[in-house]
């Protein structure tokens, strides 16, 4: 390997990439447990679809648009790396192979659209969702990742590299971006049938807890891995991630005990995620005590923010806005307050003698990403709706989207048979009722039987 290569850093980033990958299935469970049983599979599949589509787009052009040499004023990368061309085994990004950096960043691009899906639970056509993911990462995520994450000695992305907005692991590019897109989407699609009237209880809080645990675990890759080196900054980011998450969990529980009279498991899981979101932009620039403060604030404020949808009447079904947009904004702004100037970045926050300068930059970053994401996401959702129709029919939604979009059920706890197995030979005849359908089914059922008989005959001959 060329000079400057570090085996330790490379191993760490590759493992971090795998950790971040696990966050998307974790998110699927976190969301999947929160919906009603009849739409569990659709919720899980919406996240999984992002793993499929974004992975492919990433090697085709996503990596190039995000991290290719700057094409114009820090707004977007050029097309030098289309199809990952020209990236050999020995190209380095810092101390690690470019390929390691690329696979790590791909996982961020995957989870960001997956986060949005919670805002439109139970009611989006699966194909329309797939089309939206492809358009959204192309037009929103790849450029914003370039603005925030692409560093090239002052010639990189315009928010991070050129204007000093600190976003260590994606408070703006991932969480505000996804949260605000979620708001745009739930406005375009409209409320679920029965919103504010029917009870929409989470069907499985154990799944929610499992999902939040997987998210917490994977998030160490997300945050510590963003140091892109196995060093002190990575270790401090990991410490900050843990304590902010713990503090937010406690903050959420205290808020809801005071306001609603109970410590809920959904509150514990949600508080943890709110803390993870809020510490994401800040974990490389604050002290552990600053992280505790950020966590407590995020836990309590997000717990309050999730009630806004009922007051204002938008159906952000699983609180993508209340947790990700609000939590991301809290963390991004508080960098301007709690940055010590001594962890990973030199900029100091308000409480460490840096004045209001960094806070202003952070506010600019938050506003720019939120505005861009809202407008473009709204336009893209409208376009998808015009092209293919974004929302399923009302009767499909009421019956449960799993049946109509996936032809499956999430759970079968019944000992009684669910129906007749039409596709299986032998059982088909019993299943067919009408005479014309009956002949067709019987024919296809007979074929395998004949074949089997033929084989048996052959075997006898050989034996003889």
């Amino acid at each position: 390997m060329p000079d400057g290569f570090s085996a330790g850093d490379t191993a760490f980033v590759l493992i971090s990439a795998a950790l971040v990958m696990l966050m998307t299935p974790g998110l699927a469970f976190f969301y999947g447990g929160m919906v009603r049983a009849k739409s569990t599979l659709n919720m899980l599949a919406m996240s999984f679809l992002s793993l499929g589509i974004v992975s492919v787009l990433w090697v085709l052009y996503g990596y190039s648009l995000s991290f290719g040499p700057d094409a114009f004023a820090g707004l977007i990368g050029n097309l030098d790396f289309l199809g990952m061309r020209g990236i050999g085994l020995n190209e380095l990004a810092g101390t690690i192979p470019v390929t390691a950096f690329s696979i790590f960043q791909l996982m961020f691009a995957i989870i960001t659209p997956a986060l949005i899906s919670g805002a439109i639970a139970d009611r989006a056509k699966f194909a329309a969702w797939g089309l939206f993911i492809a358009l959204w990462v192309t037009i929103v995520y790849f450029p914003v990742a370039h603005w925030v994450f692409f560093f090239d000695g002052g010639h990189g992305g315009w928010l991070g590299d050129r204007n000093g907005v600190i976003d260590f692991a994606g408070g703006t590019a991932v969480h505000i971006n996804a949260g605000v897109a979620g708001l745009a989407l739930c406005l375009v699609l409209g409320k679920r049938v029965g919103f504010k009237k029917d009870p929409m209880r989470p069907h499985s809080l154990p799944l929610v807890m499992l999902g939040s645990g997987l998210l917490w675990f994977g998030w160490f890759g997300f945050n510590a891995g963003s140091a892109l080196a196995a060093n002190g900054v990575a270790a401090m980011a990991m410490v900050n991630t843990q304590v902010a998450t713990g503090a937010a969990l406690v903050g959420w529980l205290i808020f809801e005990k005071l306001k609603h009279g109970a410590f809920t498991t959904l509150g514990a899981a949600s508080g943890a995620v709110a803390g993870l979101v809020a510490i994401t932009p800040a974990c490389g620039s604050v002290s552990p005590l600053g992280a505790v403060a950020i966590g407590l604030v995020a836990g309590a404020v997000c717990a309050a923010a999730v009630s806004l949808k009922y007051r204002w009447g938008f159906d952000d079904s699983l609180d993508v806005v209340g947790v990700h947009a609000v939590g991301g904004a809290i963390g991004s702004l508080l960098v301007g307050v709690f940055a010590t100037g001594g962890v990973g970045q030199t900029a100091k926050g308000l409480f460490y003698g840096g004045g209001l300068g960094q806070l202003g930059k952070q506010a600019m970053g938050v506003a720019v990403v939120a505005a861009y994401s809202f407008v473009l996401s709204w336009l893209l959702a409208k376009a998808v709706d015009k092209l293919v129709g974004f929302r399923v029919a009302e009767e499909v939604e009421v019956a449960g989207i799993d049946q109509a979009e996936h032809a499956e059920s999430a759970y079968d706890f019944s000992a009684v048979g669910a129906g007749l197995a039409r596709a299986l030979p032998g059982l088909a005849a019993a299943a067919s009722a009408g005479p014309s359908a009956g002949t067709a089914v019987e024919k296809s059922a007979e074929k395998p039987t004949e074949k089997a008989a033929g084989k048996a005959a052959e075997k006898t001959e050989v034996d003889a």
Binding site: E256, H260, T264
Partner: protein, 112 residues
């Protein structure tokens, strides 16, 4: 014959089963049910959203008995199911025209 139907609190099922066995009942059907009477339901909170869950879990028991045993059986059942608190449930009986044991084809009281 009579069909006795009882809707009771789930945690009283074992007591009721034991009492009916001691009474001499040979078989019964148990179903998980949900519903409400005067006690209505309870409140649950999810991320600040309060839901009144008015259907509470119940157990529904069905037993076939001969006419002369019906009143005694109801008494035994009610005694075993009672806690004295609201939500203890209901028991009722209706006449049954016929009953057949599927295995043997026996009819009437012989099928019980």
């Amino acid at each position: 014959m009579k069909l006795i139907t009882a809707v009771i609190k789930p945690y009283r099922l074992d007591e009721v089963k034991a009492a009916l066995q001691a009474f001499g009942v040979h078989g019964l059907t148990v179903t998980e049910a949900s519903g409400y009477g005067r006690q209505r339901g309870h409140t649950e909170v999810y991320r600040g959203a309060e839901y009144t869950v008015d259907l509470v879990p119940k157990i529904r028991i069905e037993v076939l008995v001969e006419d002369e045993d019906a009143d005694d059986l109801i008494e035994v059942l009610v005694k075993a199911a009672r806690t004295g608190k609201i939500g203890d449930g209901k028991v009722w009986s209706i006449p049954v025209e016929t009953a057949v044991r599927v295995r043997t084809g026996e009819r009437g009281p012989d099928a019980l």
